[in-house]
């Protein structure tokens, strides 16, 4: 059983992420969002549970579907949404957008628009931790399809040979855009690939907070003991299309509805929390309401934030000292 304070934190984070993604979707539909965003709706349990035991001295790298990780790793909703809207008040001053949102001060080494692009970076963070003799970990989030990129393979090998405190987390939502994982990937359980690198691998339910927690803490403790990396795979489902605007011809509404109705991580963990006496329904409702209010304020902030000044477009290519 997860201790009450942390359980409440996780429940709140999942709500914040759910609200954030839905707010982003709404802004996209209203044509207020440039480009497209890749929504984490339905996958909230993974980022929230994993990040619930991390500090700003632990690192994460994320994916193009990075809002969830970003928020779970300490991002404030208003600055995050402002970044999605390209505003000067965004985390990256409007220069990164949704797919490049980062906050190094919180140990978030960034969303990454290149599939598999962040995995070696997480390895490097793990290398830095080890060389600094710190008791911290580096978590690499990536999708099922990223496990077919060369960088995945190189990174697992590097972390294994050097016994780095890296936890590789594969969020397997069954698709790489429209290509189902069964079509692109040589193994049914991506965690089987861990054996190829001599490291432990585990598959779990990505919509079950407690299962994620159990597997992650196990991997985290292994890393902190200096025993090296672990590959975790969490099976889940993204409720929305790959990107906002995706017509989704590759799956049925029934398929998605099954997950929405039966495997909603927020609803399900809420039930668990009540069963375990960690919270009352009123408390959970209050958390949900606060999260919603916070999101409304964030939308207000982001929509009314200024655009960055083009006169400064050449600033910060390099650090000038």
């Amino acid at each position: 059983m997860i201790e009450r304070e942390r359980a409440l934190w996780i429940y709140n984070k999942m709500n914040e992420i759910r609200n954030f993604e839905e707010a982003a979707y709404k802004l996209f539909e209203e044509n207020k969002l440039r480009g497209s965003v890749h929504l984490y709706t339905g996958e909230e349990a993974i980022a929230s549970t994993v990040c619930s035991t991390l500090t700003e001295k632990d690192y994460i790298t994320s994916t193009h579907r990075g809002h969830g990780h970003c928020i779970a790793k300490g991002a404030e909703l208003d600055k995050a949404l402002a970044e999605l809207m390209g505003k000067a008040t965004g985390y990256c001053k409007g220069r990164g957008g949704s797919m490049h949102i980062a906050d190094l001060s919180q140990g978030n080494l960034g969303a990454n628009a290149i599939v598999g692009g962040g995995i070696p970076i997480a390895v490097g963070a793990g290398l830095g931790i080890k060389k600094q003799h710190r008791q911290n970990v580096s978590v690499s989030f990536f999708g099922d399809s990223a496990s077919n990129e060369g960088t995945f393979h190189e990174s697992l090998n590097l972390a294994a040979i050097w016994r780095l405190p890296v936890i590789f987390i594969c969020e397997n939502n069954g698709f790489g855009i429209s290509v189902p994982t069964w079509q692109s990937t040589s193994v049914k359980n991506i965690s089987d690939r861990a054996a190829g690198y001599g490291i432990p691998g585990f598959t779990g339910d990505g919509n079950d907070v407690e299962e994620i927690d159990r597997l992650f803490l196990q991997a985290k403790e292994r890393a902190l003991r200096g025993e090296g990396p672990t590959l975790l795979e969490f099976k889940t489902c993204r409720w929305r299309g790959h990107w906002t605007g995706d017509p989704e011809p590759y799956r049925t509404k029934e398929e998605v509805n099954f997950w929405k109705e039966n495997k909603d991580p927020i609803k399900n963990y809420g039930k668990v929390m009540i069963e375990q006496g960690l919270a009352t329904q009123e408390e959970l409702d209050e958390i949900a309401a606060k999260a919603k209010a916070k999101m409304d304020a964030a939308v207000e902030f982001a929509v009314n934030s200024p655009e960055p000044d083009p006169a400064h477009v050449l600033d910060d290519v390099f650090y000038e000292g």
């Binding site: 001053k93 220069r95 290149i114 692009g117 060389k131 580096s138 960088t151 090296g228 650090y319």
Partner: protein
């Protein structure tokens, strides 16, 4: 102290690692072998290292202690360029100052996403808060019969990408001074050496603080009739061309930009004000080679001083054939540099 280009590089890395614990070197074959060209020879031993490289291989059946990586200052990577280049970025983001050795700059292509999409862009697209004190160094170019995929010049591709500083030293002293600057720079620096220069000797100051600033071209030979701009191996070839021209009464000024980013256009413009004529020569292919950028920029800034269009020389537009005769037919030769200078002098 007179030393070789390779040793100058090695000694700067040693001195910087002793000065700052966060500096470390990783790359292929950098331990026992000392790097494929000797740039990391005995670096480990000098930095208090122990382990694999100190053993009598192959006699010992030793289980490698993985935790050595924590304190290893110079260690081998597997052949995983995308992986270890990206790891260099990650380590640089969390407080380390990695020096990643590429065995050949051609292999940067294997890790190009990490260089162009990740390393070059991280600071800027993340809002300008990150500092990336990463050096990627290695050698390029012709000279060992390594053929098309192991003899290329990479700087033109890389100069094109914003967010990467590029240094390319032509002498031992320049290598030492520029490398120290690169290591102490809080930005990504691509340090491009040349395989045919490693054994060249030069006088290097015995100063552990000896640094050459980026963005400062060096006039390797003063002259008044024509300006020759060249980098790496071609600095030497340009100097030889200048000798030949001198015998014919033509005084050539040879300028080595030393860094392609930042690039010192001012020194080139000042030179053109004096000579009125410029030839730019490099080993890289002429088509879209960095000389095109420089010629265009100098023309823009110094048009009224130019008495002839800027002449450019570079490798012909075909892969670098293996056969030496063919290779020589592809890359610019000294007599071609001489001819180009005469051409802009209408002689």
């Amino acid at each position: 102290m007179k030393t070789t280009y390779a040793k100058a590089i090695r000694d700067v890395m040693a001195s910087e690692m002793k000065r700052d614990d966060s500096v470390f070197v990783m790359g292929e074959d950098v331990e026992v072998l000392g790097g494929i060209f000797g740039c990391t020879r005995d670096l480990n031993k000098e930095l208090g290292g122990d382990g694999y490289y100190a053993l009598d291989i192959p006699n010992k059946d030793r289980e490698v202690q993985h935790d050595e990586i924590a304190d290893a200052r110079c260690f081998n990577t597997p052949i995983s360029e995308a992986g270890f280049i990206g790891a260099g970025l990650g380590a640089a983001c969390v407080g380390m100052r990695p020096i990643v050795e590429l065995m050949y700059w051609d292999f940067a292509l294997v890790g190009m996403d990490q260089i162009v999409n990740q390393i070059a862009k991280t600071r800027y697209i993340f809002g300008g808060k990150a500092r990336i004190p990463l050096v990627i160094r290695g050698q390029e170019g012709i000279g060992r019969g390594n053929a098309a995929t192991h003899s290329q010049s990479m700087e033109s591709y890389l100069m094109h990408c914003p967010g990467l500083k590029i240094a390319c030293p032509s002498t031992a002293a320049d290598a030492a001074g520029l490398l120290r600057t690169a290591i102490r720079d809080d930005n990504p620096v691509l340090f491009i050496e040349h395989k045919a220069l490693y054994k060249e000797k030069g006088e290097v100051p015995d100063d552990p603080e000896f640094m050459i600033p980026f963005g400062k071209a060096d006039i390797k030979r003063e002259g008044k009739d024509v300006t020759i701009v060249a980098n790496l191996l071609y600095v030497g070839r340009a100097l030889q061309a200048a000798e030949q021209l001198a015998a014919e009464g033509i005084s050539a000024e040879v300028i080595d930009p030393r860094t392609l980013c930042p690039f010192d256009y001012d020194t080139l413009v000042e030179s053109v004000k004096k000579t009125g004529r410029m030839v730019i020569v490099h080993e890289d292919h002429k088509v879209a080679g960095w000389s095109a950028q420089v010629a265009s920029e100098v023309t823009s800034r110094a048009f009224k001083y130019l008495d002839a269009p800027i002449e450019r020389l570079g490798a012909k537009q075909c892969p670098l054939a293996f056969n030496l005769g063919l290779e020589n037919a592809i890359v610019p030769q000294i007599d071609e540099i001489v001819a180009a200078c005469k051409k802009v002098l209408y002689k």
